[in-house]
Subunit: 135 residues, 3 copies
């Protein structure tokens, strides 16, 4: 298992981690299989989408705040004031899996892998990567 860390700078943001993952795949010398990307935090998530226009990430954070409003009478806010972060993290999920073929991540042209920070900023968010061969 490979682990790297990401420093986050805002309370909510999407951070492109595709380059880090491409690098890990290259060094692994695995030709065919899957790459599992996992964030071991309950107020963060992993998504895959377009990052050629970074506005998409701003739009995504904005729409998540509309769908899951902050401080909306959540019980957990009385204990730790970040219930909204947990709600969104539960819905998006802590991991994504991407196929590997010919030694490369098979992302589409418009796909990037992103860490979603939902309760930042944090000095260090861990990301675990497992590479599993197909045979």
């Amino acid at each position: 298992m490979h682990t790297f860390t990401i420093k986050t700078r805002r309370s909510q943001e999407c951070i492109d981690i595709t380059d880090e993952l491409v690098d890990i795949i290259k060094k692994s010398c695995i030709s065919d299989g899957i790459c599992h990307v996992y964030v071991p935090h309950a107020t963060a998530a992993i998504i895959i989408n377009e990052n050629a226009d970074p506005n998409i990430q701003t739009d995504f954070i904005n729409v998540l705040n509309k769908v899951f409003p902050s401080h909306s009478g959540y019980l957990h806010d009385r204990i730790d004031n970040n219930a909204q972060s947990h709600m969104i993290a539960s819905c998006l999920g802590p991991s994504e899996t991407i196929p590997i073929s010919n030694g490369k991540l098979q992302l589409g042209t418009w796909q990037a892998i992103m860490l979603v920070e939902l309760d930042g900023p944090r000095p260090s968010r861990k990301i675990h990567v497992q590479i599993i061969p197909a045979t």
Copy 2:
């Protein structure tokens, strides 16, 4: 593949199944890989989030009911009165995958694996577990 069952007691609830999974990993003697947890039901889901404060699960069920209101003119309600359960299950998804390293599930400190019952109570919800080695 390992399969176990969970009895659910409410129409909607989150049930922590981390202990069952830790046990399966321990017995498998696999040191490095991934654990895939899958619920073969169309009105249930698997999520990963905090359970140290169980209020988070109550908040999550409540917010899901706001985002996906029940009996909101769904066509499927005319056939089987549980369209909302299917909507939420489709969105959350039936599985999660967690990395294994040093023979242990690499959950974060605040992460637990939970079955989400969306159309209960049910005497027996199946959970399938596949453990895949990294090499």
Copy 3:
């Protein structure tokens, strides 16, 4: 890795791809493991739910349009008029993983695997399939 393509006919729709996947599993002769299904497009997704009543897919598309309204002031709409498609795709995710046991996909009785088209119609949506043995 196996790849096949699907032609989509509407701007938004769910298309059942279970038969294509059952076929790939059968030909792979793998008895025990996982099947990873991945769509390499940023405006499509993979979900698992019931398709015995196809109304569930109509209900799902309808509720997604309520939760993530189209043209709701998204910045990306000024560049490429499909921000809503990206929002929904980010939330649903581009892949699902299903256990294989006794040479068969372990879908529940009421589960089907579906491509979700969110920005169609498109002449060709790719679907990548990786089959990973358990041992």
